[in-house]
């Protein structure tokens, strides 16, 4: 897999667009999800994803080894920051305006055994989490997305965001605490996630 990826990268660096498009297919879901969680809007996420892949192809020669995923996600992160800056200059779309249509736009595979109540609960929770993410500062939001949604290690997150490991740890802890506070205060957590003192136990 790694060798195949390296071969594709080398071919793409030589200008082979088909090889690069194979790389795109490998990473487009990950990149799109990063952009969607950062921007909270399907259209903006699609635009940022496309921009990221275009920028990656144009700058592919500057990639000189290392972890390609981190390199690509760094470009995607920058594309998201660009989109957020543009949004601040022309505030036509709010992060909060995304919930209803974006929930409908998702094409998740549903569990056929899932009850209607469970499905509604899951969708409510998903919307609540996206709203909570939107309330986080951008530097904390990117770290918690990379860590807890994308499942990346601290070192990879430090590479992608260009900050020290200690900064990643502190931003992540602050983001988790803040998101927990937001979900708890707004009673956005389903009952089974609302912990009380009696249910404390060391997991």
């Amino acid at each position: 897999m790694a060798n195949e990826e390296q071969r594709l990268i080398s071919a793409a660096q030589a200008g082979d667009l088909d090889s690069f498009n194979q790389i795109v297919r490998l990473y487009e879901t990950r990149v799109y999800n990063l952009c969607y969680r950062m921007l909270g809007d399907t259209d903006a996420a699609a635009d940022a994803t496309q921009e990221a892949f275009i920028a990656a192809f144009r700058n592919l020669r500057s990639f000189r080894g290392g972890v390609f995923k981190a390199w690509l996600l760094r470009i995607a992160t920058n594309a998201c920051y660009d989109a957020l800056r543009a949004r601040k200059r022309r505030p036509a779309v709010s992060l909060d305006s995304t919930d209803d249509e974006d929930e409908g736009a998702r094409t998740e595979v549903h569990d056929p055994g899932e009850s209607l109540d469970d499905r509604v609960l899951r969708q409510e929770l998903s919307a609540a989490i996206q709203r909570g993410l939107a309330e986080l500062p951008e530097d904390q939001r990117i770290v918690i997305i990379l860590s807890d949604i994308q499942g990346l290690a601290y070192e990879e997150i430090a590479q992608i965001t260009g900050v020290q490991l200690g900064t990643v740890k502190s931003r992540l802890s602050r983001a988790r605490a803040k998101l927990r506070d937001i979900l708890r205060a707004g009673e956005l957590l389903p009952a089974k996630f609302r912990l009380d003192d009696e249910s404390d136990k060391l997991r």
């Binding site: 498009n21 699609a46 275009i54 709203r131 309330e135 601290y154 996630f193 997991r203």
Partner: protein, 252 residues
């Protein structure tokens, strides 16, 4: 979004950071052992850990969103960005040099304007207040000597002006008596220039010796300002460059 105010964590930020890293198994062994000891003793810490872990698990369980389309590149997308205003690559370093030359030219013009106004005019302005009170104190108010002295002192060179001002202050502080006047005359005779002003109360003081010896030099004529067409041309160039830069930014 109408979320009520969120309750803040009851724990210090450092503890939250430790718990967060503990969840991810990113603590050093010693820190981990110390934290586990505290967890066994502190229910508040345990509650915080459970909530943070639940939050992390909720995020981790979020299903991934399916992209609405493919993001593979077409040859059009992959081609280098076309710019409607692009210099040939060999000209790009020259454009930087041209910008530098423009800045230097403007800076030179500004310096010329500034330096042209100051040297002749400033000493006159500075000298007048320092000299006139001195003559007023040391001589009779209606003495013609004072009026005669001031222009002579004004015409002196910079270093003499500074020396005159300094010694005038000394003369004022001393409150001249007849004896002191005679002693005060000595440095004035040695120093010359405006030094003679304070002791001029003797009534027979003419212009100081060196002032008498050296004719007053007329100040040099101020340099002519830069020609108006040059300034206008530069302004137009800058406006055009700024417009092109803005247009390019919008296109990108």
């Amino acid at each position: 979004m109408t979320t009520p105010p969120a309750p803040q964590s009851e724990l210090p930020e450092r503890d939250v950071e430790l718990l967060s890293a503990y969840i991810d198994n990113e603590l050093a062994p010693a820190d981990r052992a110390a934290l586990e000891q505290r967890l066994a003793l502190e229910p508040r810490l345990r509650r915080e850990l459970a909530e943070l872990r639940a939050t992390r698990d909720l995020l981790r369980d979020q299903p991934w969103v399916t992209p609405p389309r493919s993001f593979t590149l077409t040859p059009d997308m992959a081609s280098p960005r076309r710019r409607w205003f692009a210099l040939p690559s060999w000209l790009q370093p020259l454009s930087g040099l041209a910008a530098l030359a423009l800045v230097m030219l403007i800076g030179w013009q500004v310096l010329r304007l500034n330096s042209g106004a100051s040297p002749a005019a400033q000493p006159q302005v500075m000298m007048a207040p320092a000299t006139m009170p001195a003559t007023g104190d040391a001589t009779a108010p209606d003495s013609p000597t004072a009026a005669a002295m001031a222009p002579a002192a004004v015409a002196g060179a910079n270093e003499r002006n500074a020396q005159a001002a300094e010694e005038t202050v000394v003369g004022l502080a001393v409150q001249p008596t007849v004896e002191q006047e005679s002693t005060a005359m000595q440095p004035s005779q040695a120093g010359g220039g405006a030094n003679g002003i304070a002791p001029g109360a003797g009534g027979d003081a003419g212009p100081p010796p060196d002032v008498q010896r050296q004719p007053v030099q007329p100040s040099p004529p101020p340099p002519s300002p830069p020609p108006l067409p040059v300034v206008i041309g530069l302004a137009i160039l800058i406006i055009i460059a700024a417009g092109v830069w803005l247009a390019r930014r919008r296109m990108e």
